[in-house]
């Protein structure tokens, strides 16, 4: 049943891709409002997942309370991070901010297991274990849940960003800090908002990925894993993140399904990067990224 195999690969690829998008949108959030790339987004997901899993395992919290704890923790954590590390860097070259986030990422990767232990823990979300079989479709419930959460977040966040006055102000801040200030926009407050939103979406990402593959420091690798997604879609586009995520997910699934049997495996780890390079050759700002406007 060749076509069934293909359909299965594509549907699962799409679901995985949407879950990637959930992590990738964290990059977009920060990039859109501060012009910097936050290399610690994967670590944010890891920390969120570790806190939730730890709260369940070590303190016996019910799942919902643990998730609430994780949310509160991430909001406060990212608020503090913005205050202590990132605010003093406002006005510095973007590269400095990027290096700071790389430093943070490495620090968290070391500190996470130190504080919460290095064992792999589950996040037992109250969903069935049996796969959903629907005609030719064969899906893991957690993947479906992840995809639904991803689409839901994108829809709400997309509306906020494009339509609400605060969203417009946020995009104005991304366009020019100086001019935004001259419009009476409190730029620092919008930075905090962006980082707290990044913390929130990291919790969502940490939850779905944590319950899909288990919680340990491996989760932090998600950050690099979704990088082709971000670049493919364009660093500053929400639609781009969804499309980029789906493309990467499907390409991964298909290369795992069709190429791996011949070469012995491992192709899905680099095919997204090959795709990323190809796209960059044609559209240097990604599929949906904003081109640099030049008036002639």
């Amino acid at each position: 049943m060749e076509w069934q195999f293909f359909v299965e690969l594509v549907t699962n690829g799409m679901l995985t891709g949407l879950m990637y998008a959930l992590v990738a949108v964290g990059f977009v959030l920060i990039y859109k409002s501060t012009d910097a790339i936050n290399f610690a987004q994967g670590e944010f997901c890891m920390i969120a997942a570790i806190v939730v899993a730890g709260a369940i395992k070590l303190y016996g919290f019910p799942v919902w309370v643990a998730i609430g704890t994780g949310l509160l923790f991430m909001l406060v954590f990212n608020w503090g991070l913005e205050r202590v590390v990132l605010r003093p860097m406002i006005g510095r070259p973007v590269v400095a901010i990027i290096m700071a986030t790389i430093g943070l990422a490495l620090m968290f990767r070391g500190l996470g297991p130190l504080v919460f232990g290095a064992e792999t823990r589950p996040i037992p979300l109250p969903i069935p274990d049996q796969p959903i079989i629907w005609g030719p479709f064969f899906m893991a419930p957690i993947d479906v849940l992840g995809a639904v959460i991803s689409i839901g977040f994108m829809a709400v966040f997309g509306w906020f960003f494009m339509k609400s006055r605060k969203g417009v102000a946020m995009r104005a801040v991304a366009d020019s800090h100086q001019v935004s200030m001259a419009m009476g926009i409190n730029v620092e407050r919008y930075f905090v908002l962006a980082w707290m939103l990044a913390g929130f979406v990291a919790l969502l990402g940490g939850l779905v990925w944590g319950s899909a593959i288990g919680v340990d420091t491996q989760l932090a690798a998600l950050g690099l894993k979704v990088f082709p997604v971000v670049i493919l879609g364009g660093l500053d586009s929400i639609v781009g993140v969804i499309v980029g995520g789906i493309i990467v997910g499907v390409v991964e699934a298909i290369s795992a399904g069709y190429i791996d049997p011949f070469v012995g495996g491992g192709t899905k780890d680099f095919t997204p990067y090959v795709l990323m390079i190809l796209v960059l050759m044609v559209r240097p700002y990604g599929i949906f990224g904003k081109p640099i406007i030049e008036r002639i």
Binding site: G91, R165, V168, A169, R171, A172, A174, D175, S176, H177, Q178, V179, S180, M181, A182, M183, G184, I185, N186, V187, K290, I293, R295
Partner: protein, 262 residues
């Protein structure tokens, strides 16, 4: 309304840009500051609008007062709350936002109904902006961008609008249109303007009172009409000479005279 008293501005702790300037802007007036490149005109505006900090500058001496309150250490967004808004040199619209979104961002500090009302007002004065409201601002023409920058500044219900070289890089017809609208805004909406210009003819026709800056100091001030008749202004800024050709040696004496004025 606005009063700069002996203001000195230093960048980076060492570079002295303003050497004690005093400027006064009356409510409901249009005042202009003239001067060549590097005279310190933009810095003067930034000292008023709180933009110095972002460029590592600082008011080190003197005071800036707005409606009786000291504002020389306010942050930029606080100055907007006070009713002071600056239109930057080179227009500086939010390129990736549409025209309408630029206006929404400009009205950030006012409530939504006020914002909507102001937007209508801006569209009334700049009908072209209404036609082009869905276009990304980066793709607007230079004149449209300047209109957008001025309209955006009006969105926050400002008491004082400061324009930094609004004529820069625009065609004479567009300049005329824009300056006409500024006059209309001043007359009908009672908006106070402080306009920095290199183009002295334009500025002195627009304004009631003018200051001339050189090397970070005010060298001349007076009613626009009187400034237009001033021999030095005619010579250096308006390009009107008394008729006969000048030799280079004479030019050098003017330079001397200018320095003496300072």
């Amino acid at each position: 309304m606005l009063k700069l008293n002996n203001v000195e501005v230093i960048y980076d702790g060492v570079i002295l840009v303003l050497r004690g300037i005093s400027i006064e802007v009356e409510v409901g007036s249009i005042t202009t500051v003239l001067g060549a490149n590097g005279a310190g005109k933009s810095t003067t505006l930034k000292a008023i609008s709180g933009q110095l900090k972002a460029e590592r500058g600082e008011v080190t001496r003197g005071t800036v007062e707005f409606e009786g309150a000291r504002i020389d250490h306010l942050q930029a967004h606080e100055a907007v709350q006070m009713g002071i808004v600056q239109v930057f040199e080179g227009r500086r619209v939010f390129e990736h936002l549409t025209g309408e979104e630029n206006l929404i961002a400009g009205g950030h500090i006012v409530s939504t109904p006020v914002m909507k009302r102001n937007m209508e007002l801006v569209y009334e004065y700049f009908p072209r902006l209404y036609e082009r409201r869905e276009v990304q601002a980066g793709y607007l023409s230079g004149g449209e961008q300047q209109m957008l920058a001025i309209g955006r500044a009006l969105m926050s219900d400002p008491k004082l609008v400061m324009l930094d070289e609004p004529s820069l890089g625009l065609a004479p017809m567009i300049i005329e249109e824009i300056f006409g609208i500024i006059t209309k805004l001043n007359e009908q909406e009672k908006t106070t303007f402080l306009v920095v210009e290199q183009n002295a003819t334009l500025a002195l026709n627009l304004a009631k009172y003018g200051y001339v800056m050189e090397n970070g100091a005010i060298v001349l001030e007076g009613n626009a009409a009187a400034l237009k008749e001033n021999a030095d202004i005619k010579e250096f800024y308006l390009g009107i000479s008394s008729g006969e050709k000048k030799s280079f040696r004479d030019v050098k004496t003017y330079r001397r005279r200018k320095r003496w004025l300072g």
